[in-house]
């Protein structure tokens, strides 16, 4: 039986003992006396913790033991593509020739860095069918914002100022409408049909001379391939809109089909998903954006270019209609390095193998779980990299909700799937096993879900009160938002006043 480490680990502030230091600094070059202007001098006492290095190390080691990562076990969060992160990626990214270079160095001293970016772009272009990439965006949503700003710039440039609507399917990631809104667009939601794909009639009715573009992920968030994609592209293009590809689910078609060939004009990729760079508990990511040739003049500056004649890489600021910058400097370079290492090792054959097995695993799991009491499979059966089950029958028949199922999975040392998303499936469980889990792990996951179903119908309390084997028991998130305690100081004050007992 799984047991997660359970330390009563104090906050680092609570471990503090006056006088201890965790790091010794070098001496200044010369002991010059420089006075900070009186009105700027720090007068507010600085209450930082005081600890020696071994204490710092033990504290964070214990914390890490109370955290679950991909290296701890299966992590099938749908639409998040939590695959194994090869260790060689880390080793190369930690190279001093990556860590100790300054972004403003003379181009002659950073040819390696620029070559890495240029080479990565060549791979991404071929993988997506796009003509030019920016590697600047720091994450998928930053990439989405870049993409919709390019859409905006394109229409404005053509004098089509009335194009102020972005269409998104109701199954879309929440970042899609948020990114479109941030770029100043009105968001129009397109319903899905009974197959779980975009309803063509609804799309036809929604497009107009106000349409700036459609944001779509394919395979979509149900794990279903939008098989009418060529028709969708035709409808959007005919209306004068652009087609935007949300690359979150690229893992499902990698090495087989390219967004560019399906009619997409812009894509963003999530290097941290498809190309195996670690998520770090929420970031850093990297969200490169690729465009077809007719949009390349709008990309953020600078682009990386290669001068073949002189065998020289350089930063190209000559992007005539650039949207500007979406982040400082050139992007999350250390993440880009990891992605390139992965690509070189996988190669053409390996990348196709990724989608083959990712899709195989998802369908295998679907088949194995299908028919289990309490779970139903809405929409059609054939899935790509992920599958969405609904635990609606279980809730109706036993009172056990999807949330409870997710919490109970944790007791088996298995990460929960994405839950309650997409919004169009009630009591949704969105499972994405990825290609890096074994058959045995898939079987164990299915077994656990079956066991939970059995428990729901015989002993629902054990599921409703889960998890039991984790560092803490079920967490009260309603209390957290009703009474926000978001720093150590707030916590200390409330505790001292006796207003809280936790």
């Amino acid at each position: 039986m799984y047991r997660q480490a359970k330390w009563d680990e104090p906050l680092i502030f609570e471990l503090s003992r006056p006088g201890r230091v965790g790091y010794t600094l070098p001496k200044p070059i010369e002991d010059i006396n420089v006075e900070i202007p009186e009105k700027l001098k720090r007068k507010t006492p600085l209450e930082l913790p005081e600890l020696s290095e071994p204490e710092v190390v033990k504290h964070y080691t214990r914390l890490s033991e109370m955290n679950y990562g991909v290296d701890s076990g299966i992590y099938p969060l749908g639409s998040c593509t939590m695959k194994y992160n090869p260790k060689i990626n880390e080793e190369i990214a930690a190279h001093p020739k990556v860590a100790f270079i300054h972004p403003y160095q003379d181009e002659r001293t950073i040819q390696g860095a620029l070559q890495i970016m240029w080479e990565l772009e060549q791979w991404l272009k071929e993988i997506t069918g796009m003509d030019r990439f920016t590697l600047q965006p720091a994450a998928g949503a930053n990439g989405e914002f870049t993409g919709v700003m390019i859409i905006r710039a394109y229409h404005l440039d053509r004098g089509e100022t009335q194009r102020n609507e972005i269409l998104v399917p109701d199954s879309a990631h929440g970042t899609n409408p948020a990114s479109a809104a941030m770029a100043g667009f009105k968001v129009i939601e397109i319903p899905s049909n009974e197959n779980g794909t975009v309803d063509l009639e609804a799309l036809e009715n929604a497009v107009s001379e106000r349409t700036a573009g459609l944001m779509l992920t394919n395979p979509n968030t149900l794990g279903i391939f939008e098989d009418e994609i060529l028709e969708i592209a035709k409808i959007v293009h005919k209306a004068g809109g652009l087609l935007y590809y949300d690359g979150a689910n690229l893992n499902g078609i990698l090495g087989r089909v390219r967004p560019g060939d399906m009619g997409f004009d812009i894509v963003h990729l999530n290097l941290h998903k498809t190309f195996s760079t670690p998520h770090g508990g929420g970031g850093p990511g990297a969200g490169p954006v690729g465009v077809k040739d007719f949009l390349k003049d709008y990309l953020p500056v600078p682009l990386v270019a290669y001068d073949e004649e002189n065998d020289r890489y350089y930063l190209d600021y000559n992007v005539p209609k650039s949207i500007g910058k979406v982040k400082e400097l050139f992007g999350n370079f250390a993440v880009l390095v990891r992605a390139l290492v992965y690509l070189k090792i996988m190669g053409k054959d390996g990348l196709k193998e990724v989608s083959d097995v990712a899709v195989l695993n998802a369908n295998y799991l679907t088949r194995k779980l299908k028919g289990t009491r309490g779970y139903e499979l809405p929409h059609k059966e054939l899935r790509k990299h992920e599958v969405v089950f609904s635990a609606e029958p279980m809730k109706r028949e036993t009172g056990v909700r999807t949330l409870d199922v997710a919490k109970r999975l944790l007791d088996f040392g298995l990460h929960a799937p994405t839950i309650y998303f997409p919004l169009i499936v009630s009591e949704a469980l969105m499972i994405e096993p990825t290609e890096t889990v074994s058959k045995e792990e898939l079987d164990a996951y299915v077994e656990a879900l079956k066991k939970i179903s059995e428990e729901a119908y015989t002993n629902p309390e054990v599921v409703k009160s889960a998890p039991h084997n984790t560092a803490v028991r079920r967490v009260d998130d309603v209390l957290a938002s009703k009474r926000p305690i978001i720093t150590w100081k707030m916590y200390k004050e409330l505790k001292e006043k006796g207003e809280i007992d936790y």
């Binding site: 010369e30 007068k43 100790f100 930053n142 400097l329 370079f333 079920r474 978001i486």
Partner: protein
């Protein structure tokens, strides 16, 4: 052949049989045939071959360890204690995702809560999110937030003309959609915000932004006064800060800032050619502001047994719930970078942070003193890290001569600020060595 990252590539047949189909291609039957294709990519290589290949490419980079480098301008060479790197590379942190399941993610949640608490101490504001992409995006989102707080009735965001140019560009891109009007304020003879010009421009502003140290590396002495002027005009006061200075300089929150942004990656993270980074975002404890704030916040709650626990909170502002009405689209943030910063900060403690500030101040002063032997220092004031230096000879020529001598000079400022002539920013930190500065000055004496 089976792939070493893909266990089941050895068992495809068996699994296909269990699904009841005969080939993988059947799983792609719904993909239109006309768009399927063979990819024009190289074949995969062994790990060893790629290791060699990447090392060969990286050889072409010359690091700051191989040549004295005086570049700063927003990116600085700080030393990262070895244990910081060691700890954040623990795979339970490194390979985790956003802590959607708090019960098995307490480690990351507590570490991020501690980050929030540490930054809150530094900046003097109690509400800190668990990171933005970088300083620039944090500043841009702060601007959008001040406009939202005025319900779109005020769209003007006032910034010094000497704001970091990259940040200014990010602000303009982010501001384009909602129609934020960016207005710049002149600098005075001391290279600091011109108060009279600010008073002219602050009217009807949604927010006013100031950086400390500013782009010229100078401390803005009138920070508090600028805050008062801003508040009198009914605008929000946004301060951008390099947090390595906050052991010796007053917390911006105590000087009147409503929102503080900055760069957390200066602690715990190497330069990495400019990324990843982590933007600081902090606000006053005011629900009106908190509801409009972008990004994730970690809070304390209790578990079913009444025990203290950590969880992502106040999520009703986020895109996965609010979709088009979210306060921001930020989803993946820079959690690991933030944790590294927290570990570094916790290791420094109050004394270490103060010492760090003092050493940088002294090293910068030494660099400035020596530079004044060979060039003009246009602005008099206290410098932290960056020093603006003006030469008579075109700076690119000087840069070339320095590079020949294996020294990397400063950041050429003229392309952004032609009015400053042949000037460049030279920077020092705690990592700067005396022999590097002396070599620089010797070389400059030959070439200016």
């Amino acid at each position: 052949m089976a792939k070493h990252y893909i266990p089941n590539s050895a068992h495809k047949e068996e699994m296909l049989k269990e699904i009841g189909i005969s080939s993988i291609d059947e799983l792609f039957a719904d993909v239109p045939k006309e768009v399927m294709r063979e990819f024009n990519l190289p074949e995969g290589k062994s790990e060893y071959e790629v290791f060699l290949e990447m090392n060969k490419i990286l050889e072409k980079n010359k690091t700051v360890l191989e040549m004295p480098t005086f570049l700063g301008a927003g990116t600085y060479f700080h030393y990262i204690p070895a244990h910081v790197k060691y700890l954040i590379e623990r795979s339970e942190f490194l390979t985790a995702y956003t802590p959607y399941q708090p019960e098995i993610s307490q480690g990351m949640l507590q570490a991020l809560f501690e980050y929030q608490s540490l930054i809150a101490e530094l900046v003097g504001l109690p509400v800190v999110n668990s990171s933005m992409y970088d300083w620039g995006t944090a500043m841009a989102e702060a601007a959008l937030m001040t406009v939202r707080l005025h319900r779109g009735k005020r769209k003007k965001f006032v910034v010094p003309a000497h704001t970091h140019p990259e940040r200014l560009q990010v602000l303009k891109t982010y501001g384009a959609g909602p129609g934020v009007e960016v207005v710049t304020v002149k600098w005075n003879e001391k290279g600091q915000v011109d108060i009279e010009d600010l008073k002219e421009k602050v009217r009807d502003a949604a927010g006013v932004y100031v950086e400390i140290p500013n782009f010229f590396g100078l401390l803005e002495e009138n920070l508090k006064e600028i805050g008062e002027i801003t508040h009198e005009a009914g605008a929000y006061f946004v301060v951008g800060v390099d947090p390595t200075i906050l052991g010796i300089v007053e917390a911006p929150g105590a000087l009147g800032a409503d929102i503080v942004v900055g760069e957390a990656s200066y602690f715990g993270n190497p330069m990495n050619f400019g990324g990843p980074r982590a933007g600081i975002f902090a606000v006053k404890n005011d629900m009106k502001l908190i509801r409009q704030m972008p990004g994730r916040i970690i809070g304390i709650t209790k578990d079913a047994e009444g025990k203290r626990a950590f969880v992502m909170t106040l999520q009703t502002r986020e895109q996965h719930i609010r979709r088009a009405k979210a306060t921001s689209n930020i989803c993946s943030n820079e959690a690991l970078v933030a944790v590294a910063a927290a570990i570094h900060l916790a290791s420094l403690g109050p004394r270490g942070l103060r010492e760090l500030g003092e050493i940088i101040l002294k090293n910068t002063a030494y660099l400035k003193k020596r530079l004044s032997e060979v060039a003009e220092i246009p602005f008099d004031g206290v410098n932290f890290k960056d020093v603006l230096v003006k030469f008579e000879r075109p700076y690119p020529e000087i840069h070339e001569e320095l590079l020949k001598r294996n020294i990397h000079g400063g950041y050429y400022v003229k392309p952004h600020f032609p009015e400053l002539g042949e000037s460049a920013l030279f920077a020092a930190t705690e990592t700067t060595r005396k022999e590097w500065v002396d070599a620089l000055i010797d070389a400059l004496k030959e070439v200016v």
